[in-house]
Assembly symmetry: C2
Homo-oligomer: 100 residues x 2
């Protein structure tokens, strides 16, 4: 696994619906994140469970912040100290379960 | 619903295993929180689901931050601008599902 360059991350974000740079406010993007909004708390919890299955399947685990009907998802490959293809692949899978 | 006084909150926290003042670093406690640690991600997700059922039953919804095998729970009654009996009751219920 190699950490994506800043240029690669910006290219990927252009193709990943709704994902943005996340985390510390530096020029270097070390995390990517997206907020998913649902009709209510139950729908948000259902999304968290769907994401959990994707995370286990990928053996890669995002940070998940549940705020009533909203879920903030944050992805980074901590072992590599940045954003890798693992994050990009999981972001795509999460988009697929979040946009039903 | 009345907001608990700071004295009442400190008394309650003395009886609620593991709960601490949370949120903004002021002298006034407006939120209470507890971190629950589990063996792995699956156990942490299972806890989130159990807490979700308690939250729906109480019609009161904590903030839940999932970090792999750890879950930070934060409670406040936003409509009242502080900690109320609703938070205390839900904290007890969450302790019951979290300490299995």
């Amino acid at each position: 696994l190699t950490v994506l360059t800043q240029h690669e991350i910006r290219q990927v974000l252009g193709e990943l619906d709704g994902w943005q740079p996340a985390g510390a406010a530096t020029d270097d993007v070390g995390e990517i994140g997206k907020q998913f909004a649902f009709a209510d708390f139950r729908e948000a919890v259902a999304f968290v469970v769907r994401v959990a299955f994707e995370a286990e399947a990928a053996n890669h685990h995002p940070d998940l912040d549940l705020r009533y009907s909203k879920v903030q998802v944050t992805l980074s490959t901590h072992s590599e100290g940045g954003v890798t293809e693992k994050d990009v692949a999981l972001a795509r899978a999460i988009n697929a379960v979040g946009n039903r």
